[in-house]
Amino acid sequence: MQDIFPQRIKMIQGVIIFFSFLFLINLFYIQLIDNKYKIKAKDNAIKELIEYPSRGLIYDRNNKLIVHNTNQFEIMVTNAEVDANLDTSQLCKDLAITQDYFLESMKKARKASRYRPYVFLKYVDDSNYQRFQEHIFKYKGFFGQTRFVRDYPYANGALLFGDVGEIDSSQIKKYADTYTYLSGDYIGKNGIEVYYEDLLRGQRGIRTVVVDALNRVKGSYANGENDNDPIAGKNLQASIDINIQTLGEELLTNKRGSIIAIEPSTGEVLALCNGPTYDPNLLRGGNRNKYYPKLLLNKYKPLYNRAIQGLYPPGSTFKAPSALVALQMGAINPNFAYYCPGYYPIGKKSLKCSHRHAPCRNIEEGLTQSCNPYFCQVFRESIEVSNSKRFQKDYDRWYKNICRFGYRRKLGIDLKNEKRGNVPDTAYYNKIYKNQWRATTVISLGIGQGEILATPLQMANSYCVIANKGYYITPHVIKGIYANGKFEPNTAKKIKVNVPIDKLYFDRVTDGLEMVVQAGTARASKIEGIALCGKTGTAQNPHGEDHSIFVGFAPKVNPKIVIACIVENGGGGGGLAAPIVSLMAERYLKDSLPPASLNKYSSIKNRHLINFQIDE
């Protein structure tokens, strides 16, 4: 075939020539004309230094600084610049490291890169760093770099505030969409630190500098036009009152359990305490690798955030929400009376009352006596309100109403890994009882036992509904954010959830809860001059002593604080949980504890149910 287009060779030749000239012109510009890419002296070099941002601070609700930063240092080494006659023994002495560490680290550095700075030693404290700096002229190739490390001046709130550690590679990937982390960067690992990581982190800066042959910085490169200053993280205000946070953790000394306090009108969490706990400063910097596994393996599970993850049967504290639902459903009226024979018959078996007492003539007396048969009957009335044959429909109604208090759902607190708890639905019972179940089969729900499980947070939240007489606000631990000199409230969490129940019923139940403390199961926990309302509970525990529970609020009119407390294996609700709640409320409402209460404080603090130790 005739070759018809020999002239078309010019097309490809033209492209080759065009790009070659384009490249040459570009190179001519970059290499000979543009000052931006020029370094004056031949031995000078350009280095990019990372500048780390300072992480956002956290204040408590009274503007006390509760989480801040301190400096630690890292020693970097650039292998190619290290002097062959380096005085290693002096360097090891200054940095308090062994000769072996020196050799090992230098070997790693050599392997990583000869020309790029490598982290020779992490977590160098102030005094070692000062000594190193004094002799820096002897250590060619080494330099120091400032890192910010968290400091928790009150040494508490370990699981609430969380901690900060080096990012691992899986997290780098996970966060790739929001921020480019580099290995060695710090990241929030738990609590507020991880939930608000994006706000607290800030942004890394980069400074390009020209250095001479002796690695001395000669100035910024290209007039700093490529430099980015680090941007500090945003400061946060927590809703926590650090005073009662501290008190709560002291009261939980050597106990397993949790205390959570909420301001009912705002949903702001005032305290979130777990026991046993540890000093969050323990996990700072290099210690994290040492202590974290120890905490993880400890048999008392100090890393387990019981306040939002621990699931307990709410026991008798459930009687108040359960009564409110029964009242609203029209199953009972507030003057529902029931004569307690000391037990409640369930087929051939029976459920015992905890003690002998006079008949309960109304809901207040039922709560005061915490009478089990009374509330079994209340529950039965609720789920058989229209017709005992069609109780499943009523159970559904009861179930929907009770869940409005915040059970069986994640409340959406601004902390990770919240548990949702459980209230069984009809589908569940139909499945396990193969449709063969009746009111009496599930009667223990009426007294907060059986399949029902709730976190301490949910227990406190359900009493927020009572304190507010009809609603709760999503509980949250961050009140607001300081941004550009202004305070922005954390509106994302201010979600109001209504619980439609008549005010009259709330009033009657509240009266009953007041009587519990005045004359009932919690009468040892009265607060001088303040009306504490609440309910004791005892969660049966097949593995040992019962769990002690108390949920309450104070004062009775316009409640300022709702507190739930659970002490595992603490016995009856009146024994440990009620006085703890009483002390917490008194401290919060009076700003200090009167002498009489101080005795109670020290006797509870010194009651050791476990012997928690972090081994060295």
Partner: protein, 418 residues
């Protein structure tokens, strides 16, 4: 026929020498870029330069064998080679591990085989075979479609491996098709699409479409008395709607593209993004100035954070240590290499060899443009090696086979002329 002269008298020495010089420059530069004073010997096989030396040795032995073979082994079995590599490209999709976002390697233990490198060579053979057939005339749409098919199958398979750089190389075969009969208009349409692509990355599609509409109206206005007015308008509307659909879809694709690739493209069009590599590359080049810092004296290209200083960014080290002169020399060598192959192809009377020569120039040209373009900051950062220079067995082997096969074909020119 008189007694045939020795094969070495028939080789095109200028071409062979240029290729060998480029390989040596590559070795020296890899040595400088990865220089490790604990291992100063260039033949230390624990280092990249030692490995590259071995690969050069293998390539030379292979080259010696190839130039002593009859070039019919390439033309007769062209489709077979093409098919085998297609199979490997499919296999690699299933068994390859992901390295730097691309699934392109088959790990053979001693060697990580990258079939996409060899696909370039076998596609050259396949195209040469098809186009050199007597009945093939690319001016006919049906024949052109077949040729496009030969290009597009490996292109799609390589794209599926997320190996953007190698896939782009296949686009350069457009010049080959044009040279052997494809209409000029298709090339111009291609340029038009590329320009629209860049513009739609720079501008929002709204402005682009608006300016197209304004343009059509202006053209129509000045031709309002022409009897072809309706044709102007129809063509104008057609082009405008193409631009509209195209730029909007580019906009949508850019939204979907993962961040990494988006950054690369944004760097090119000056929208900022992560221009770290490009800045580092320019700093290293700029440090070289006119005559460079000298052998092993470069610090920027070593100390800096370039992820591929011995492969994709090897040109930086040349720029820093040998300056503008060194860069100019290397560019000159590549231009000479490509021009020489074109010149020899045109002289060749065997159509297979002629098309093959063109095809490998297309491949070389695309590598040359993307790699150096990326180093000087004109092209987004796309991982693609510089032929004969960059570190890496697959690419060196593939380019050697490509060039040596051409040298052998060229040496047989006398058979066809006599």
């Amino acid at each position: 026929m008189a007694k045939s002269p020795s094969i070495f008298n028939k080789l095109d020495w200028p071409l062979l020498m240029t290729f060998l010089i480029l390989m040596v420059i590559g070795l020296i530069t890899i040595y400088a870029a990865g220089y490790n004073p604990d291992h100063p010997k260039i033949y230390d096989i624990s280092q990249t330069y030692g490995k590259q030396l071995i690969w050069i040795g293998i390539c030379l032995v292979l080259g010696f064998i190839i130039i002593n073979m009859n070039s019919k082994v390439f033309s007769v079995f062209a489709y077979a080679y093409y098919g085998i590599i297609l199979l490997l490209l499919i296999v690699v999709l299933f068994i390859a591990k992901e390295v730097n976002g691309a699934k392109a390697w088959i790990d053979l233990g001693f060697f990580r085989l990258q079939p996409s490198e060899f696909a370039k060579f076998t596609t050259c053979l396949g195209l040469a075979y098809y186009i050199s057939e007597l009945e093939t005339n690319l001016a006919y749409a049906k024949k052109l479609m077949m040729a496009l098919g030969i290009i597009i199958i490996p292109f799609i398979l390589i794209l599926a491996q997320h190996d953007m750089g190698s896939a782009l190389v296949f686009l350069s075969f457009a010049f080959l098709l044009n040279r052997f009969g494809m209409s000029d208009y298709i090339i111009f349409a291609g340029f038009f699409v590329i320009i629209i692509s860049i513009l739609s990355l720079l501008l929002s599609p709204v402005y682009l479409i608006l300016s197209m509409v304004v343009l059509v109206i202006i053209i129509a206005f000045f031709n309002r008395k022409s009897k072809d007015l309706d044709k102007y308008i129809i063509v104008g509307v057609a082009i405008t709607s193409f631009v509209a659909i195209y730029s909007i879809s580019i906009d949508l694709v850019m939204d979907k593209l993962d961040k990494h690739q988006k950054d690369r493209i944004n760097v090119l069009v000056g929208k900022g993004g992560n221009d770290w590599n490009v800045r580092q590359s320019k700093i290293a080049l700029g440090a070289g100035q006119f005559s460079g810092k000298g052998f092993l004296k470069g610090t920027q290209s070593k100390m800096n954070f370039l992820p591929a200083k011995e492969t994709d960014f090897i040109f930086c080290t040349i720029g820093e240590e040998w300056g503008f002169l060194g860069c100019g020399l290397v560019i000159g060598l590549y231009v000479f290499l490509m021009m020489r192959i074109l010149y020899l192809s045109e002289k060749h009377s065997s159509k297979f060899s002629k098309v093959y020569g063109y095809a490998i120039v297309c491949v070389l040209m695309m590598h040359f443009i993307i790699n150096i373009g990326m180093t000087v900051g004109l092209v987004p950062v796309i991982g693609i090696p510089l032929p004969a220079l960059s570190y890496g067995g697959s690419s060196l082997l593939s380019f050697s086979v490509m060039i040596f096969a051409f040298i052998r074909m060229d040496s047989e020119r006398w058979i066809y002329t006599s």
